[in-house]
Symmetry: C4
């Protein structure tokens, strides 16, 4: 989503690069989904770095605050949420699902999924540190967006 | 895919957020593919959490049941399937390929790939826990959609 | 890319599902890219499963053979290739970059990237097993497509 | 983005494959984002291979140099950058965020995110080797593009 891009930028030459920060431009989408969700039930290693955790990394490149709502889906009950967050302009926040408490904590050792909605375009990436065994395991993926 | 979004939501102000659950809206796509598939042949650690497994995480955010068909492709034989599943409205299911039995189980230690089709839009994410060695390894990715 | 979808399928009711295999339909894209490439130089554990390897998982859901060409890019020399492969109709092949020999093997412990082109639409996923230390590590991602 | 594709290629027969390197064709996008960023603070194993690192793998398949600018976003301060890089025509570079020094190094053990802009289309993939514990962990994902 590009707004207010001056015409000369569309025709910029080889030595004239686009500077994102100087434009009224935002990168991203308003609806994201993470179909894989699971908070392991135990950990090994020093906390907080090595505590097993599930994270949604949110990036707001816009000049406005992003108002976020997260909905959590389960296999056997109605969805929980919305969990409300605000991300300041030009900031990233790496949200640990472990820390979401309001309206209710997310149960451990339980399959879930999430939908993340924002009123300005953002970027969402999903990751997990699993330290249930002596050595940690990591996963990440860009989330689904539309 | 958005249906029946009231006009005021398209013009919602900074403090008025979109609530997904209150709308007749669905998020996702109807055709998904996972080109990487492999069920390891052995495991370490307590079951069922630490049993090596290959998972398709399916999320149905719609108000309708999703009827799913999975087709499994191999390197040296005709495809297997369809494997049929139903996901209730507003639910997620994390399907272990290990547990697909009908029309036939998926062989272990064998390369495969999968196509997942649904009659309503869904979101699909692929993940694997590999516990063949003492410490588990994890991978995940959003699946290909169209 | 959908061809020859009968009209009744577009209006199929709740209990009438789309069967991919029965249609002249193909899923995927013709150009894919994997920017991350690296074949580790040593391994631990039983071969071939635990040999460190870098894989492109290719899925051809069409009714035709797919003719594939892979080009390998480096940081400090001209590209290598094309490496030519054929994937039969309705088959998957999990190609280990370690095994590409013609026109030249891919060097170990060297950064590279790849572009994969096909004459019919396919799906490509990238994965790696790294067994340089005692416990294996895994990564995967859907490739970039256009 | 395809330019100058000769007409016969659009109608190429089953045995006539598209050769990317012989055309004035570029693959990719000009804006990429990685919402997950984190450089671990300690490592195990032989360097440089086993040093914990965070990487952006950049692939420039075009016939022109790509001029790249990276902006780093944080949770609690203004963005840093732009970090400027040049990738020669038909080359890949696997950039370690650890090594970005100008205008300022990226702090360790700190959440960040990045936006990568290029004046020609490129492909970007994100990966990390985490060797804080005895066994290394890996993650990767295609970045978000638009």
């Amino acid at each position: 989503m590009i707004t207010g891009v001056p015409g000369y930028l569309r025709h910029s030459g080889k030595n004239q690069k686009v500077i994102l920060l100087k434009m009224n431009k935002t990168t991203g989408k308003k609806i994201w989904a993470i179909a894989e969700g699971y908070i392991p039930d135990w950990s090994n290693g020093p906390e907080p770095q090595m505590l097993s955790h599930e994270t949604a990394c949110l990036l707001n490149t816009s000049k406005q605050e992003a108002h976020i709502e997260i909905t959590i889906y389960f296999s056997d009950r109605d969805p929980a949420g919305p969990y409300k967050l605000t991300i300041p302009a030009e900031r990233t926040q790496h949200i640990r699902f472990n820390n979401l408490e309001n309206p209710e904590p997310i149960p451990r050792d339980t399959d879930y999924a999430s939908v993340i909605e924002s009123d300005v375009p953002i970027i969402v990436q999903h990751s997990r540190l699993d330290s249930r065994q002596a050595e940690n395991a990591l996963l990440t993926t860009i989330a689904y967006s539309e």
